[in-house]
């Protein structure tokens, strides 16, 4: 059992661990890492779709956390603070990589291929009850990066559109529009996946 788990077992709270970490206590750092690593890593992985990048970004997010932990005053939950920090780390990384920012113009003139369906056509079978976790994760991974980021932030991580707009430097309308396109794309991917499965039977 590591020293950090002993601390946890003897009833040290997260708040106490944060205080100790502010004083440079290595075991407190390890405890905080252990408590939050999974969620931070999952966020990084879903947003980047790449294991190596996600690990690097997880490391960077925690490093920034430890650099800034002295400034944490408890105005929000620690996990919320850490989470927002991790999102910023990922977004900064993606911007450096040259991920195109969401354009205001897109909201005004949606691209034809992403536009609403004008053909009514016949009804499709609804998806309800037919999605499993593996297929959904796979489909999310296949999304274009811009759609994937919005979908992960809103539908998985629970950020509101106003928060996303602030983080991404776009309008709330843009955020809603991109989310809708992401969900439409996922709908198509999941229907194709379901049809392929049915064909194999």
């Amino acid at each position: 059992m590591t020293q950090a788990k002993k601390i946890l077992a003897s009833g040290i709270t997260e708040a106490e661990a944060i205080d100790r970490a502010k004083g440079g206590d290595a075991e407190a750092f390890e405890m905080l890492y252990g408590l939050h690593k999974r969620r931070v890593y999952s966020l990084c992985l879903r947003m980047t779709g790449n294991t190596a990048e996600a690990e690097d970004l997880t490391q960077e997010a925690f490093l920034q956390l430890y650099r800034k932990i002295a400034t944490f005053r408890g105005e929000s939950a620690f996990s919320t603070w850490l989470h927002r920090l991790a999102v910023n780390v990922v977004l900064m990384h993606l911007r450096k990589k040259g991920l195109p920012e969401i354009s205001l113009d897109e909201a005004l003139e949606p691209a034809q291929e992403d536009g609403p369906k004008k053909d009514i056509g016949a009804r499709d079978n609804v998806l309800a009850g037919s999605i499993d976790r593996v297929n959904l994760e796979r489909a999310i991974e296949s999304l274009p990066p811009g759609y994937r980021i919005i979908f992960v932030l809103h539908d998985i991580e629970g950020y509101e559109h106003n928060e996303i707009a602030e983080m991404m430097g776009c309008s709330i309308g843009n955020s809603k529009s991109q989310l809708h396109k992401a969900r439409m794309k996922l709908r198509d991917l999941l229907k194709v996946s379901r049809a392929e499965k049915a064909a194999k039977r």
Binding site: G49, T51, R138, E141
Partner: protein, 285 residues
């Protein structure tokens, strides 16, 4: 012409006589043991081949053919545990005189252990545990199920066919390992430079780990195989023509031509293919 006929007849007579002399030097030794369920048989024969097959019943029947009277087969028996050991009486004879061949029949649930340096070793239809090793022995194990299969060789050819529900472990330095329809909770093959070939479904929701230093790994996969596969060659190549679904979480960076990871169908079995400098090929059947 008459002298030629006489010479020919003399030559034939000499040959027949020689064959008779050789045949009479061979000794056939039969050993029978009545055993209970779950019996175990160990044969150590560094002087020739060992073949083991099964027959319903509760008897171990071992037939040893000794090619000279300079060799001996010892037997020890303790309950249902039988051990047969071949050795030279004095100095090890040379050539064929040292040769001893075993042909053994055991009950299907018998656990079988065979050591034979030169081999070949053939074991069929056993439902108990199978252990076989020989430095230069070709080892052939087929139609085995429900048991542990442990095979070791330095440079013999290992062939495993139709093994189901087994815990299979094969270690070979340079001998190739060829598997067809081998499935189990666990299949692990490790070579230094022996080629590893696998043809089959990787079924049974098992864990399959095929590792080599500089040998090649070749996998032939039917379309309905359900596997979660990762393949990596540190300094060699990885080739794949099977339409896997890409994985979200990979155990290592997926570098094109050096590694890939993916799933097919529901990814029931885990398959790891690892080489240091060999080529890994996955082909669709």
């Amino acid at each position: 012409m008459e002298s030629w006929n006489r010479r020919a007849k003399l030559a034939v007579a000499v040959l027949v006589g020689f064959a008779a002399i050789v045949a009479s030097a061979q000794t056939r030794k039969e050993m029978k043991f009545n055993v209970g369920p779950g019996a175990s048989l160990t044969i150590s024969n560094d002087f020739g081949p060992v073949t083991v097959h099964t027959m319903a019943g509760s008897q171990v029947l071992a037939v040893a053919t000794l090619h000279s009277d300079q060799m001996e087969v010892d037997q020890t028996r303790s309950g249902s545990r039988v051990e047969l050991f071949t050795h030279a009486l004095q100095q090890r004879p040379t050539g064929d005189a040292a040769r001893v061949e075993f042909d053994v029949t055991v009950p299907p649930d018998c656990n079988v252990t065979v050591h034979s340096s030169p081999g070949p070793i053939v074991i069929e239809k056993v439902r108990g545990d199978v252990t076989a090793d020989g430095e230069n022995a070709n080892i052939d194990v087929r139609d085995v199920g429900n048991g542990h299969v442990h095979l070791r060789t330095l440079k013999g050819n290992v062939t495993i066919a139709n093994v189901s529900n087994g815990h299979v472990e094969v270690t070979s330095v340079s001998g190739p390992v060829k598997m067809s329809d081998v499935s189990g909770p666990s299949v692990e093959v490790n070579t230094t430079n022996g080629k590893i070939s696998y043809s089959g479904m990787f079924s049974n929701n098992g864990d399959y780990v095929l590792t080599t230093h500089s040998g090649d790994i070749e996998v032939l996969l039917p379309a309905n195989a359900s596997i979660d596969v990762s393949a990596r060659s540190v300094n060699g190549k990885v080739e794949n023509d099977f339409p896997f679904q890409p994985k979200q979480h990979n155990p290592f960076p997926v570098t094109s031509g050096r590694a890939f990871a993916g799933t097919s169908n529901s990814g029931s079995s885990g398959v790891q293919l690892r080489s240091f400098s060999g080529t890994i090929r996955v082909k669709k059947q």
